[in-house]
Amino acid sequence: MANYGMALDYKNCINCKACEVACKEENGVQLGADKHRIWVGVKEIEGLWPNLSIASSTFEPSQCQQCENAPCQEVCPTQATHYTKDGVVMVDADKCILCSYCMEACPYDARYVKEDTMTVDKCTFCSDTRLLRGETTTACQATCPTKVRTFGDLDDPNSEISILLAHREHRTLKTHLGTKPKLFYLI
């Protein structure tokens, strides 16, 4: 049993979107702007021309935060959304009734409707694809040219992610909501 999480050295992101493409390819996510498991947020450049602050423009790659206290799991009426033994929040398509309550409840806008099954879908840390095949990385991590993402077991003190989090300051998104996200943004 593991406790999977991900650290993002987001300042290394160059907004090439290779992660989005790899995710779509690996997990069969349909094409279309509103069909995405992961995305890159762009912080616009601050200031007025010609006094523009180039340093203010940053990219923030993101996805499901795999919350330890996931609001989407709490509100699911049929337990379609559940935690795996490895602490990953997953959707059981057979049980999903498409009431969209989880989409309403997610503070990170990380869920979307998968058109072929007409059920709600989200990032699974590639649990049902790459990890199932015995690989140890997610598609977005494996493809990233600037090594933004580090995926691994938070409970293993010798894992790369544990060592990284022990040595680097980090923050989580919307921490005040008490969702305990397992995506850590390295500062």
């Binding site: 702007a33 509103d34 995305w39 890159v40 947020g41 762009v42 912080k43 616009e44 923030e60 993101s62 609001p71 709490e74 509100v75 699911c76 009426p77 049929t78 337990q79 379609a80 049980k95 999903c96 009734i97 498409l98 009431c99 969209s100 309550y101 989409m103 309403e104 409840a105 997610c106 503070p107 990170y108 806008d109 869920r111 979307y112 409707v113 007409m118 059920t119 909501l177 008490g178 969702t179």
Partner: protein, 403 residues
């Protein structure tokens, strides 16, 4: 099929006092301009429902205007509109026949009939919103998500339906002892179900404008207001504004209760806005200010839904019951906007605050407008409610004593 229906009716007639009516008799009504207008509008609404529902069955949620950022739309608002009406009518009915407030007893049966009709119409709408309604019935039972307010609401509304059907059965048989017993169950479960519906929004930690205790309480209060408006509309239409003296007393009492409820509702709204704007939470304050400046809120919710009926009651000391029928019509429009706004406003504030793609502006308040299919189904559901009400009114004895 008609033979079967007739046989079924004969069996029901053994248990419930009913007017013996055939289809031809059912379609007969006094051809006044108002009756013809209502009949024509209802017919148009029913046709729109068939068109809308067919389009939904072909295209699924693509036929609706909902998006990833705004997953709930007009269908959820209409479902709430109907079930709020149902709970409101149930509570108002219970004041008379369960708590024995004599002056309100005359509308007990008609109100429960209205509660049943609106609940069923609400169920029709929600069945056209949930992606997999049949799967819902199976997995709600064998894999219940006990922490989910939607699960609680589903269970409680199902129980509520059972209780008010039994309550209505005994009311029609003039068995007041058992009607009262099931009335208590219906009332308690109805209030629990309805406040649970408020909690569906109140539990949303992601949506600060909805999160908290406000909606579960507000739902019950606004349900009672809706119940009063519908009682005015039902009796205004039945008596064509020429109320008999007994009914005048009942409606004056109803309008006084309504006045108090509206005052409390206004008080609720004022404090909701004040705490949201000055509560120190930036996203909640921004959303509240946006709501405060929107015309559906100001004209719909506040002016039509609360202020105009309240002024009519206040200025006439509750005695202008004819004017109240018209004010109630406007009031129901206001109530619709209350439901629509609560669904839309909850989703106004964007969850992602950064630009997600090149050439796309940073997210602003989320926009939504219902699609034609949604509007057709919503109007159609009103048509279904009026049709069911008309049929019940034709074949059942809905006054205190049999005609």
């Amino acid at each position: 099929m008609f033979v079967l229906a007739e046989k079924g009716m004969k069996i029901i007639e053994r248990f419930i006092p009913m007017r013996h009516t055939d289809i031809r008799e059912l379609l007969k009504f006094e051809k006044t301009p108002l009756n013809l207008l209502v009949a024509f509008t209802t017919l148009v609404f029913l046709v729109l429902f068939v068109v809308g529902a067919t389009n939904y069955l072909i295209h699924g949620h693509h036929a609706y205007g909902v998006t990833r950022e705004h997953p709930w739309g007009l269908m959820i608002a209409m479902y709430i509109f109907f079930v709020v009406s149902s709970t409101g009518l149930c509570i108002m009915s219970a004041i008379g026949h369960v708590f024995e407030v004599e002056v309100l007893e005359p509308f007990a049966k008609r109100a429960i009939h209205g509660a049943l009709v609106t609940l069923l119409s609400g169920f029709v709408v929600i069945f056209l919103e949930i992606g997999h309604p049949l799967k819902m019935m199976i997995y709600n039972t064998i894999s219940p998500g006990l922490t989910s307010a939607i699960w609680g609401m589903g269970v409680l509304y199902s129980l509520y339906l059972i209780f008010i059907v039994i309550e209505f059965f005994f009311l029609l048989r003039h068995d007041h002892k058992w009607a009262k017993r099931f009335g208590i169950f219906g009332l308690v479960v109805g209030v629990a179900a309805h406040s649970n519906l408020g909690a569906v929004f109140g539990f949303l930690v992601a949506r600060p404008v909805a999160n908290g205790i406000y909606y579960p309480l507000y739902f019950i209060l606004s349900a009672m207001v809706t119940g009063c408006y519908l009682i005015f509309l039902m009796y205004g239409f039945k008596y064509k504004l020429n109320f008999p003296p007994e009914m005048q007393k009942t409606l004056v009492a109803t309008s006084k209760i309504l006045g108090l409820l509206l005052a409390i509702l206004l008080f609720f709204e004022i404090w909701r806005m004040l705490t949201a704007i000055y509560g120190g939470m930036e996203d909640r304050a921004e959303t509240a200010l946006h709501i405060l400046k929107s015309s559906p809120f100001l004209v719909g919710e506040i002016l039509l839904g609360i202020v105009i009926p309240f002024l009519v009651i206040l200025l006439s000391n509750g005695k202008a019951i004819r004017t109240m029928v018209f004010a109630s019509l406007g009031g129901m429009v206001g109530i619709f906007f209350m439901r629509y706004d609560l669904v839309h406003d909850t989703q106004l504030y964007p969850m992602q605050t950064l630009k997600l793609r090149e050439y796309q502006l940073p997210p602003s308040f989320i926009e939504y407008f219902p699609s034609t299919t949604e509007i057709f189904i919503a109007l159609g559901a009103i048509g279904i409610a009026i049709t069911l009400y008309y049929i019940g009114d034709k074949i059942l004895y809905l006054e205190t004593d049999p005609d």
